[in-house]
């Protein structure tokens, strides 16, 4: 129906370098659309509010999360998690009111609420005459 807030996995396709040259990879996201807004959830385990950056440039939204990996003073014995930081870029739907974007992070899940502009919301038009 509507143009999806189209995902551009540029960061995961190219070998960009992150903090300490560790590189980035794209977090897993859910995107839903409601009557009033788009809601994006991204899994960024290990990222606190301090390590998080949400950048808006024109209609491009970049989410980036840096995290402390490993345990200070301890040796890794077995490792499945990625040592890389998170980064993913999104092209926003033109109906989004970029001035009112809101972001929160709780237990490693970033939630970005992207409200639709008033004019983009569906409304009923009364027929006169």
């Amino acid at each position: 129906m509507t143009t999806v807030t189209k995902t551009e996995n540029r960061a995961t396709r190219t070998n960009e370098t992150g903090a300490e040259g560790r590189g980035y990879f794209g977090p897993q996201v859910n995107i839903v659309e409601t009557k009033d807004s788009f809601v994006l959830e991204a899994e960024m385990p290990g990222v606190s509010k301090d390590g998080l950056e949400v950048l808006l440039e024109g209609n491009e939204l970049t989410i980036q999360g840096r995290r402390q990996t490993g345990v200070p003073g301890a040796e890794p014995v077995y490792r499945e998690s990625s040592p890389r930081d998170f980064r993913r870029e999104f092209v926003l739907d033109p109906s989004i009111d970029t001035a009112r974007i809101n972001a929160t992070i709780e237990q490693g899940v970033l939630t970005v609420t992207l409200p639709k502009a008033e004019k983009a919301k569906p409304r009923k038009i009364e027929v006169s005459g």
């Binding site: 659309e33 409601t34 960024m44 290990g46 345990v71 890794p76 077995y78 499945e80 237990q107």
Partner: protein
Amino acid sequence: MKLIQRQNSDLWNWSPVEPLSTLSEEINRLFDSPFGEFTRHMKLFNGWTPALDVYEDKDNLIVKAELPGMKREEIDISFHDGTLTISGERKYEQKNQDAETYRAERFFGKFHRTLALPKPVQSDQAKATYKDGILTVTLPKTEEAKPKQIQVNVN
């Protein structure tokens, strides 16, 4: 690696939302990743397998699990006969009834990871914390398992 005993997770393969991202896209992501991340993507075929790391220092074994977006009470940790089990269920919360889903890459439902610990530990002294979506279980090693410095006198 024999350290991790993988559970057959077919049983736990449940998600109320069909993953909408296309298979080819997931395969692209897979091949863009180094092999260390391969296990992360195994959930494509096997449900949710949270990544586990094991660290060791002088006194402790430290197990970390990536469990973003859970509540403390949804995580169970048990220890039996040298084996640590981390399990739980991440419940899917549909906050908006009229919402239309565009992307569903996150996994919901049950998970179960079992880990045979490489060293004997004092399980009654174990401590667990959950912060920023990472569960950290600290298990103090038994006295016998700790490295000892032996004084050697040379005449």
